[in-house]
C-alpha cells in the first residue's frame, strides 16, 4: 500500500509525486534516458518524423471538419470548399499534401541510416521490425488518403491497387469486390477508405510508434561507430559531472536541443515547399474529377511507391505479383539476412558497403523508371533494375557470411 501524505496540498509537487510518480517519469523518460554522444543529425530523423506526424494529424483534423466522404461531393468539398471558402483551408490542405510526401522522404532517410550504421541487429531487431511495420502502416495511410479527393488519380489508383488482390491467375475477384464493397470503386469504397484513413490506420500508427520507442529502450540507440559500451558506467560519469568524457548525454535537454535545431532547419524547407513548391505533392491529374469511363493517359503512384511499382511492372501478371510481394516483404528480413556479426558503418564493412550503395542507387533507378511510360529503353532499364533488386537481396547473406569480424 502506497503512502499518501494527508497534509500534502492538492496538485503540489509532493501530492503529484505520490499519485503519478512525476519525478520518476521525468527521470526515466527524459533527464536520465541516455543517448550516445557520438551521433550526427541523422539521429534526429526520428523526432523529425514524430513532428511531421503531428503536423499531419493537426492539419488532418481541420480538413476533416469540411471534407465530405461522398462520391458526388468529395471532389468539390476538397477543391472548392476547403480551398476557397474555409479560412486557411488551403493552408491545411497544402501542409497535409506536402507532409504526406515529405514524411516518406524522411522515412527512407531514417531507414537507410539504419541500414548504413547496422542499427538493426544484435538486440535491435525489434526496432527494425516495428519500424518496418510503421512503414507499411504509413503506406496504407498514404494510399487511403489518396482516395479521398476522388479525382482521376484517386479513382484509378483505387481500381489498379485493389485489382492486385485478385492474385493474378487466382482470379480472386470475390476478394476484390469484398475490399471495394462494390464492383468498382464507388461510394462504399470511398467510405471505408475514409474510415481507414481517419481512424483505424492512424490509431494503429500511434500504437506502433509507442512500440517503436519501447523497442529502443533496452538495446539503446546505436552510434556513429557501432561502438558497444557500458551505458550505466557512462551515465554515472555524466551524473558525476564529467560530461566531457562521458559517452552519453541525457535525452532531455541535451539530445533534444539538437533535435529541435534540426527540426527548425527541416521546417524551413518544409514550409518553403508548402508555400512555393507544393505542386510536386499534388498530381495535376487528380484535379480532374473521377470518371469511371475514362482512364488518364499516364497513371503512376506517388513517388514513394514507384520503386516497388516498377518491380511489379516489367514482368507478366503472376511473376510480377510475386516480385511485388517480394519487394514489399524483403526489408522485414534484413536483420536475419545480414549474417555478419558486425555492427559498424557500412564503409568499414567491405562488400557490404558496395551492397548498400548498389541497393540505394538501384532503388533510385527503379523510382525513375516507375514514373516513365513503359516504352522502349525505359522498359529494359526497369526490367534490369528489378532483377538487380532481387539479385542484391539474394546476395546479401552470401556476402555478409564471408565478412571478417571487425
Amino acid at each position: 500500500m502506497a503512502h499518501f501524505d494527508e497534509n500534502a496540498k492538492p496538485f503540489s509537487h509532493k501530492w503529484m509525486n505520490e499519485r503519478l510518480a512525476v519525478d520518476t517519469l521525468k527521470r526515466v523518460l527524459s533527464t536520465e534516458y541516455w543517448i550516445p554522444k557520438n551521433i550526427n543529425f541523422l539521429w534526429a530523423m526520428g523526432m523529425v518524423l514524430a513532428a511531421t506526424f503531428g503536423v499531419l494529424l493537426i492539419s488532418g483534423i481541420f480538413l476533416l471538419m469540411y471534407y465530405q466522404p461522398n462520391t458526388h461531393l468529395a471532389f468539390d468539398s476538397v477543391n472548392y470548399t476547403i480551398m476557397s471558402e474555409v479560412g486557411y483551408g488551403w493552408l491545411w490542405r497544402h501542409v497535409h499534401a506536402v507532409g504526406a510526401s515529405v514524411v516518406f522522404l524522411i522515412i527512407y532517410i531514417h531507414m537507410f541510416t539504419g541500414i548504413y550504421y547496422g542499427s538493426y541487429k544484435r538486440g535491435r531487431e525489434l526496432i527494425w521490425l516495428s519500424g518496418m511495420l510503421l512503414f507499411v502502416l504509413f503506406s496504407a495511410e498514404a494510399f487511403s488518403g489518396y482516395m479521398l479527393p476522388w479525382g482521376q488519380m484517386s479513382y484509378w489508383a483505387g481500381m489498379v491497387i485493389t485489382n492486385l488482390f485478385s492474385g493474378g491467375s487466382l482470379h480472386a475477384n470475390g476478394l476484390v469486390e469484398w475490399i471495394r464493397g462494390d464492383y468498382v470503386p464507388g461510394q462504399a469504397f470511398l467510405n471505408r477508405f475514409f474510415m481507414l484513413h481517419v481512424l483505424l490506420v492512424p490509431l494503429a500508427i500511434i500504437g506502433v510508434i509507442v512500440l517503436h520507442f519501447g523497442t529502443l529502450r533496452i538495446p539503446h540507440v546505436n552510434n556513429q561507430e557501432g561502438e558497444e559500451f557500458d551505458f550505466e558506467e557512462s551515465a554515472e560519469m555524466y551524473k558525476a559531472g564529467d560530461v566531457k568524457h562521458s559517452k552519453v548525454i541525457p535525452f532531455s535537454p541535451v539530445f533534444l536541443s539538437k533535435d529541435i535545431f534540426v527540426m527548425g532547419i527541416y521546417f524551413i524547407i518544409f514550409f518553403y515547399l508548402v508555400f512555393y513548391h507544393f505542386e510536386f505533392a499534388m498530381d495535376p491529374v487528380n484535379f480532374d474529377p473521377a470518371n469511371g469511363l475514362k482512364t488518364p493517359t499516364h497513371i503512376y503512384p506517388e513517388w514513394y511507391f514507384l520503386w516497388s511499382y516498377e518491380i511489379l511492372r516489367p514482368f507478366s501478371t503472376n511473376v510480377g505479383l510475386i516480385a511485388f510481394a517480394f519487394a514489399q516483404m524483403i526489408f522485414f528480413f534484413l536483420p536475419f539476412l545480414d549474417r555478419s556479426p558486425n555492427v559498424a558503418p557500412a564503409k568499414r564493412r567491405g562488400l557490404f558497403n558496395l551492397w548498400f550503395w548498389a541497393l540505394l542507387i538501384d532503388m533510385i533507378v527503379l523510382t525513375f523508371m516507375g514514373k516513365l511510360p513503359p516504352e522502349g529503353i525505359w522498359s529494359t532499364v526497369g526490367f534490369v533494375a528489378a532483377l538487380t533488386f532481387i539479385g542484391l537481396w539474394i546476395l546479401l547473406p552470401i556476402i555478409t557470411i564471408k565478412e571478417k569480424k571487425l
Binding site: 554522444k37 550526427n40 468539390d76 488551403w90 548525454i249 541535451v254 527548425g264 508555400f275 516513365l372
Partner: protein, 323 residues
C-alpha cells in the same frame, strides 16, 4: 564538418530523386509543344494539314493576309454587321449545337486576323475543318456567313467595326464568358453554359426549389445538344489551371489541335489581352488561395528562420563542455 558532408550526400540524393520523378518524368510524358505567340497567320495549320489540304490552307491564309492589309471602315462595317446581329445577340438561342456569342467584347479579346479568317471560313479559321468533311451531314453552325459577307472590303469593314465599337474595358470574367463559357461550365465561378446561375428560392412548405430544378433542366438540355454536336461534353474549367499547367493551357487555347490532334474544340482566336484576361479568370476560380499564400508564406519562413537561430544558440549552450 562531418555533419555538413553527410547533409550534402543526403541533399544530393534527394535532389537527384526529385529531378527524376518530377521535371525529367514529366518532360518524357508530355512532349513540349511550342505555341505560335498568338499570331494567327496559319503557319501551324499549314504545317499540320494533310498533303491534299495543304494548298487549301495556304490559299486561305494568304487571302486572310490580303484582307488584313485593307483599311476597314467601321461605319460601313456597322451596317454589314446587322446581318450578323440576327444570331449574335443577347439571349440568342442554341443553333446547331452551340449558342452564338453576343460579341459584346469581341473587338477587345480576339485577334484581328483571326476575326477576318473567321468571317471568311469559320471551320478553317478555328482549325476544325476535319469535323465537316465535304459531302458530310453536318455543317459549321456559322457556315452561312460565308454566303452573307463575302467581299474582302466588307469583311475588313466588319472587323474594323468590331475592333472600334465592340471593345472597351473587359473584366476577366466577361472575357471568359465571351470566349469559353458557352461550351465550358465553371461551377466554382457559378457559371453554366447558359451564364450566371440565377438565385432561386425553395418553397417553404415543400422544401423544393422549383426555379433551380427548371434551370437545371435547361442547362441539361443545352449540355446535351453541345455533347451531341461536339461528340463529348466539354469539361468544366473550374480548376483546369491546376489540372493542366499554364503553358499547356496557352498553347491549347491558341491551337487545340497542336496538343490534342483531332479534338472538336475550335481555336478561340484570343489576342494577348484576351488570353491574359481568360487566364486571370481561370486562376481566380482554380487557384484562389494564391494571394493568401504569397502574403503568409514569407512570415512563416521568417518565423522558422529565427526559430532555427534560437534553437542553434540553445543547442550550443546545452552542449557546452560536452566535447
Amino acid at each position: 564538418m562531418k555533419e555538413l558532408k553527410i547533409f550534402g550526400i543526403v541533399a544530393v540524393f534527394t535532389l537527384i530523386l526529385y529531378w527524376g520523378v518530377e521535371p525529367f518524368a514529366h518532360s518524357q510524358m508530355h512532349k513540349h509543344v511550342e505555341g505560335h505567340g498568338l499570331v494567327y497567320d496559319g503557319k501551324a495549320d499549314i504545317k499540320e494539314a494533310s498533303k491534299d489540304r495543304k494548298e487549301i490552307e495556304k490559299k486561305f491564309w494568304n487571302d486572310v493576309a490580303q484582307i488584313s492589309k485593307l483599311k476597314g471602315d467601321p461605319v460601313a462595317g456597322e451596317a454589314t454587321f446587322a446581318m450578323c446581329a440576327g444570331c449574335h445577340m443577347k439571349g440568342a438561342a442554341n443553333m446547331g449545337g452551340v449558342t452564338p456569342p453576343s460579341l459584346d467584347h469581341a473587338g477587345a479579346i480576339y485577334d484581328k486576323n483571326f476575326l477576318i479568317a473567321l468571317i471568311k471560313d469559320p471551320a478553317l479559321a478555328t482549325n476544325v475543318a476535319h469535323k465537316y468533311p465535304v459531302g458530310g451531314t453536318i455543317a459549321h453552325p456559322m457556315g452561312p456567313v460565308m454566303t452573307m459577307v463575302t467581299a474582302p472590303q466588307d469583311i475588313a469593314n466588319v472587323v474594323a467595326y468590331l475592333k472600334a465599337k465592340k471593345a472597351g474595358e473587359v473584366t476577366p470574367k466577361e472575357a471568359y464568358i465571351e470566349a469559353c463559357s458557352r461550351c465550358h461550365a465553371n461551377r466554382y465561378g457559378h457559371l453554366t453554359q447558359l451564364g450566371e446561375i440565377p438565385k432561386t428560392k425553395s418553397n417553404i412548405k415543400t422544401g423544393q426549389d422549383i426555379g433551380a430544378l427548371k434551370y437545371k433542366e435547361k442547362v441539361a438540355e443545352e449540355q446535351a445538344s453541345l455533347a451531341e454536336y461536339l461528340g463529348t461534353l466539354p469539361p468544366d474549367l473550374s480548376i483546369m489551371i491546376r489540372a493542366r499547367n499554364e503553358h499547356f493551357m496557352h498553347v491549347f487555347v491558341e491551337n487545340p489541335q497542336s496538343e490534342l490532334p483531332g479534338t472538336a474544340m475550335p481555336r478561340t482566336g484570343l489576342d494577348k489581352e484576351g488570353m491574359e484576361k481568360v487566364m486571370a479568370y481561370l486562376e481566380k476560380t482554380g487557384d484562389p488561395s494564391k494571394p493568401k499564400r504569397e502574403a503568409v508564406g514569407p512570415w512563416v519562413l521568417l518565423f522558422f528562420f529565427i526559430f532555427s537561430i534560437l534553437a542553434y544558440l540553445w543547442k550550443k549552450s546545452m552542449w557546452k563542455g560536452h566535447h
